[in-house]
Symmetry: C2
Subunit: 190 residues, 2 copies
């Protein structure tokens, strides 16, 4: 009996690749086992269950996203930072649709607060240092940015903008212009 050398790490990584290839919903313990040419039950020494696999893929994706965002943001500020961060999001979602879907997978509170999601939130807040926003407006703005990035990228991934003019990239650029403008002129509370 030749051992396949399974580890949780390798299984999760394979699951992430599978997600990008066939969609996150289609990622199954069985499919990962097939990929390693191993019986399904063998994976249960490394994974608690199917949900565990999906959660770990989600955490991997969040970490990759946070790493890229962190690197892109280094040395940038203001609109430059805004655009860099936004493009990391968009590029990641387009290059790794399955992982991106995984990153949006609902996590229970403890898992979420322990994962890289909070790093992403911190980075979003860092972008706003280039704009003059005091609390609580800063938090409102963080939520706005998160919504726009996530919303746009999801709709784009779902094909929402693919069959109509103008080009999605053009809209993306103009939306970033708009956000920059809004952040510089955030309306005072009435």
């Amino acid at each position: 009996m030749v051992r396949a050398g399974l580890t949780t790490e390798r299984l999760v990584r394979a699951g992430a690749e599978l997600a990008d290839e066939v969609g996150f919903e289609q990622v199954t313990v069985s499919a990962v086992a097939r990929r390693f040419d191993v019986k399904v039950a063998s994976l249960y020494s490394h994974l608690k269950n199917s949900q565990d696999l999906k959660t770990r893929i989600a955490l991997l994706a969040l970490e990759e996203l946070a790493d890229r965002a962190s690197e892109a943001l280094a040395g940038r500020s203001g609109k430059d930072a805004l655009g860099a961060f936004a493009n990391v999001y968009r590029d990641y979602a387009l290059a790794h649709p399955g992982r991106y879907t995984a990153a949006r997978h609902p996590l229970d509170t403890e898992t979420a607060t322990a994962g890289a999601g909070v790093r992403i939130a911190q980075l979003t807040r860092a972008i706003l240092r280039g704009y003059d926003l005091a609390e609580p407006d800063q938090t409102h703005a963080v939520r706005l940015l998160g919504s726009v990035f996530h919303g746009y990228v999801s709709l784009e991934a779902a094909g929402g903008f693919s069959h109509s003019a103008p080009d999605s990239r053009e809209s993306w650029a103009r939306i970033l212009d708009g956000l920059d403008s809004l952040l510089r002129n955030w309306p005072a509370h009435p």
Copy 2:
């Protein structure tokens, strides 16, 4: 043998209720059959397959959403319309989380263009009539609004804003202020 009186309509409606109760992902042909106290195979006279069921639930949700939005928008314009539309979205998502998830379910192009999704897009565009935006900026703005509404509501539904100050409603209100401001002062192309 007493007949249960199954119809595609009733099955889809039951599926939608089930989605709101246990989540759209948990909606299964078997679960719907149980709800009617009927054998699973019986549903296949009314539904093509599991995917068909989910697609029909998605279309139902889109239609309900479009109906509500249409009603809310009647007689309103400008920021008033923007707020009314946004609140329909948010309220629907909070009241019917499963249906809302269903509404975001990816549809193939033909199904999507035949469904109520296009009505929603048209309504979004109608809101912008209250602002002075020419094409292609109008389309960019439609995409921005769609992204913000969808993004915010998804993040909120996933619990993103639930355990932190300020209150989510407050952010929502201030984000709508921000969007209104941005639409009134849409930056000219550099």
